[in-house]
Symmetry: C2
Subunit: 217 residues, 2 copies
Amino acid sequence: MRDAFHDDLDAINQTLVDMSALVSDAMAHATTALLTANLELAEEVIAEDDRVDTIQHDLDNKTLEVMARQQPVASDLRNLVTSLRMSADFERMGDFAHHIARIARMRYPSSAVPAELALTIQSMGNVAVALNNKVTGLLTSRDTEVALQVERDDDEMDKLHRKLFEVLLDDNWAHGIETAIDMTLLGRYYERFADHAVSVSRRVYFLVTGEYAEKQS
Amino acid sequence: MRDAFHDDLDAINQTLVDMSALVSDAMAHATTALLTANLELAEEVIAEDDRVDTIQHDLDNKTLEVMARQQPVASDLRNLVTSLRMSADFERMGDFAHHIARIARMRYPSSAVPAELALTIQSMGNVAVALNNKVTGLLTSRDTEVALQVERDDDEMDKLHRKLFEVLLDDNWAHGIETAIDMTLLGRYYERFADHAVSVSRRVYFLVTGEYAEKQS
């Protein structure tokens, strides 16, 4: 029975790895769609989000079914409950990629992002994807050093977010209110995506060590 | 044993009711602090958010402990897992009240909200609080009719959110980029608070009926 149970745990973890890889891809594609005004790619990201939602739904049912059947205690129970939380994080991260793709679609055939912010947004996209790629590896390696790195890497996102606001608030801003609204929302979507990646890495850290990670700086 | 278990379930549910009432209050106070530039009230809301986080943390530990001890199956297990999700919703709703209070504090002694948007923001605050007060009642009554009402009431929030953007995008907008950024973020915080209230009411609906509520309009 214990072997069947651990097969179940492995299968659940593999699905989390797949979800994480999917939302990294979605985020990379959403950023490209946004910066190159690529409507087709934006539509793909938007359609793909339903797939993430379906995977989450099926995974949560599977996890509940394993809980009911195997009656785990202690660390096994904590592991399964944490899986439910991680799948919710990934589902939400998929939403943010979807929101970004919708802004790309809404402004097509223009690019939503003015030239002077293209590099900042591209960097936010890169940091978001790199951060979450580390999280994907972490789900298998459970390497607490990497979990702490993810925390530190998130500081880069905060810096980029502040830079975005500096440009918006500069007297030379010449793109009006609508673009400022888009940029405000985009900044938040990238930051929140990264927050959820950090949240997953904290959950891994806690599962491994039984303690909460100290804030890294 | 079953009686002790149901006492545990009741205690968990009562804590959710308390959390829900706390975040309704936080949201009401945050809105007042914002519109009246009341620094003291803003600080209170900001400090109070730690209390919500602590309650969530303790409640989740208690819920896990009950799961491990009682080994529930079927509807009891689903109930407990749903409690974990609801506590996460309320924790997040507390965050939004906290974010709103921080904007109030950041713009003090001015009010962050220009006069022409005060009524819209006040209405968003009212709808958010009224919606969540229904949710608080729902946690005890489990009345599916009220759950469906909550879905419908959320449409009012969407209308107010659109109205906010109309004012921001009007050619007569005279308050510059910084205020437009504040209003964009505020709009999102109110809307997301309401989304989480709807999400809790959907979870109640599902627990009672075993089915997902159809989108109401």
